[in-house]
């Protein structure tokens, strides 16, 4: 199969990449564009470490053929990290010790981003449901769930709830 050019928006900027059809978005990001915040825990669609947002929806980049993002908006963890300091979700993960080895973290943060945009104040069950495609072998999840709740507070104020 001959390479072709695929154009999409990545972290707010237009990109054109020359790739063979069926190359995964994960490989394009990690190998071609050298954006390695998107991880590669399984490349089977079952760990969530490669989660990116496509038009705001969390997707496993390891299962996504690059053609499918033609003309779409892709957001990776690099895209939410501000020039200085941290995004409120990143802050919440850092402050709540929701990070151990850190390998699941980028995926967790991207899912949280999508969740909090859809649902500014999710309850615990909603958070766990939203994260259910993301595995963490280290933390036991409690701190991650706390971080998501805390991130909601940081983004939307604690809404008078003490």
């Amino acid at each position: 199969m001959k390479p072709k050019i695929v154009s999409f928006t990545l972290n707010g900027r237009p990109v054109d990449v020359m790739v063979r059809p069926m190359t995964t978005l994960q490989n394009v990001l990690r190998r071609q564009l050298e954006l390695t915040a998107t991880k590669a825990g399984c490349r089977q669609g079952s760990c969530g470490s490669c989660t990116v947002l496509v038009n705001g929806e969390p997707m496993a980049a390891c299962l996504l053929p690059i053609e499918d993002v033609e003309g779409q908006e892709v957001l990776t963890l690099e895209g939410i990290t501000p020039l200085h300091g941290l995004h409120p979700i990143q802050e919440a993960f850092f402050e709540n010790f929701a990070v151990q080895c850190g390998y699941c973290t980028p995926g967790m943060i991207m899912v949280t981003k999508a969740l909090l945009e859809r649902e500014p104040r999710p309850d615990e069950a909603t958070i766990r449901e939203a994260l259910s495609g993301n595995l963490c072998r280290c933390t036991g999840y409690q701190a991650i769930v706390q971080a998501v709740t805390d991130a909601a507070d940081r983004l939307h104020g604690n809404g008078g709830v003490s």
């Binding site: 390695t36 399984c42 963890l77 850092f94 990070v99």
Partner: protein, 453 residues
């Protein structure tokens, strides 16, 4: 130790690597790539036990991007054992299989290619001519005389105490006289326990990237848990001076013991040596699950002699660690297991035989709890069974038998920092379990103080 005034020890300061992790800027091994880098993929055994009659690379060589293949003939010291560094021998595991494979997934030959896709494709086209042999998967079956023999020394168990001119089939602990105590016991409680083989399943798979340097050295970026341990083993396998190797790591996406093996580095360094180019060898998730080492399975038989008042006066244990096909860390785990399988209890008569058994299974190795996890599982279920048999509260049974400071354990070490009783009291308080006065009066320093009756 008297209470010290401490500044930062005891404080929950934030992780030093936390910012890197939440921004995705931490560099993990698979994030590293170099221009001109090659990918290494393994040709693996599809069966658990076979003789290798031949390997044919001709179809693989036709794959565009194929660079070269490596077999055991390319490995200077192909047969090794990881723990040779601490005097455990003999060497028995091939880096790449020679004339036989002992487990499904065993490394037979390596293929390096210009891209990962080409490496996968080429590896899949290597034809290995195998003559399948009968396999054994059960530890007790493996010890029977008619079992297929897996080791060159003619047994399916590790031989202990070789260095003392002895050849013991197991690690032994002998303390007191169990048979005499069994005769005096009010109850005999027996149990059989089986721990399953478990994968560490770190979210980051095992891997390394090797880069040849202009000065003739090799930089190895790796997620090993033990840099020098891996460096030393790699140099021995490759028969090169230690200082030709430079290992860089320290960032590990979950280890749990699975990244103490030395599997990816030696062969990736060899590939870099042979091609003069950077080489990446990172396990796929499937390789991590099916081929990398596991927490070994373990089978344990307990026989305890118990008095009506709850005192355990004798414990006889025979256990079999399933090392799988090769040593890795299991012989050492068995020794740790033997030191702990009587549990944190003071039992005056203990007899332990702990075997390290080989089967045609993917090798077991180190994992969080190394030899102690199966021991704790078996001991603690056995404790409840004893309590049930003699009609005593399981908490009380443990308080009565808990080791105290000054006691001598079956391996002869005097207990000096026991706090089992205090820990149990704290747990009871946490869950609102009311403990009777005579148990609350007990402590780990004074056996007499508060002893019941």
């Amino acid at each position: 130790m008297t209470k010290q005034l401490l500044n930062v020890v005891g404080q929950s300061v934030h992780r030093r690597d936390g910012m890197g992790h939440v921004t995705g800027r931490t560099t993990f091994v698979d994030d590293i790539q170099f221009r001109d880098m090659l990918y290494l993929k393994m040709v693996r055994s599809p069966v658990p036990h076979a003789r290798i009659r031949g390997i044919d690379f001709s179809e693989a060589e036709k794959v565009p991007g194929f660079v070269r293949a490596l077999t055991h003939r390319d490995v200077p010291k192909n047969i090794y054992t990881i723990l040779c560094l601490i005097g455990v021998g003999p060497d028995e595991e091939p880096v790449l299989a020679e004339d036989r494979v002992l487990y499904k997934g065993e490394q037979i030959a390596a293929v390096v290619a210009e891209s990962e896709e080409a490496a996968v494709e080429a590896a899949s086209r290597v034809v290995v001519d195998l003559e399948e042999l009968p396999a054994v998967f059960d530890v007790e079956e493996a010890l029977k005389p008619d079992a297929p023999v897996l080791k060159p020394w003619g047994t399916n168990y590790f031989i202990y105490d070789y260095e003392y001119g002895q050849s013991n089939p197991c690690r032994k602990v002998r303390f007191g006289d169990v048979e005499k105590a069994f005769a005096e016991a009010d109850y005999i409680v027996e149990g059989r326990y089986q721990m399953s083989p478990i994968e560490h399943a770190p979210t980051e798979t095992t891997g390394c990237v090797v880069k040849p340097e202009p000065d003739g050295r090799y930089t190895v970026y790796t997620n090993t848990q033990a840099l020098f341990f891996t460096l030393d083993n790699s140099a021995l396998i490759l028969n090169i001076p230690f200082n030709k190797l430079h290992f860089v790591g320290g960032t590990v996406g979950g280890g749990f013991g699975g990244k103490v093996d030395v599997i990816v580095e030696p062969i990736a360094i060899l590939a870099a040596m042979k091609t003069g180019r950077p080489v990446k060898y990172v396990f796929s998730r499937e390789e991590e699950m099916r081929c990398s080492s596991t927490r070994g399975a373990w089978r344990m038989y307990f026989k305890d002699g118990v008095m009506k008042d709850g005192r355990i006066i004798a414990r006889k244990v025979t256990t079999y660690a399933d090392a799988g096909a090769y040593n890795r860390h299991t012989p050492y785990a068995v020794t740790k297991h033997a030191a702990n399988v009587a549990g944190p209890y003071s039992i005056p008569n203990v007899w332990i035989d702990a075997y390290c058994v080989y089967t045609n299974r993917q090798p077991g190795s180190a994992m969080r709890g190394f030899g102690v996890t199966p021991a704790s599982f078996a001991v603690e279920v056995q404790m409840d069974r004893i309590a049930h048999t003699i009609g005593m509260d399981p908490w009380e049974l443990r308080f009565i038998n808990a080791y105290r400071n000054g006691d001598v354990r079956p391996h002869r070490k005097v207990v000096e920092d026991a706090t089992l009783i205090e820990t149990m009291k704290a747990a009871a308080q946490l869950v609102g379990k009311e403990l009777p006065e005579h148990l609350l009066a007990m402590n780990s320093w004074d056996r007499e103080g508060g002893h019941h009756g």
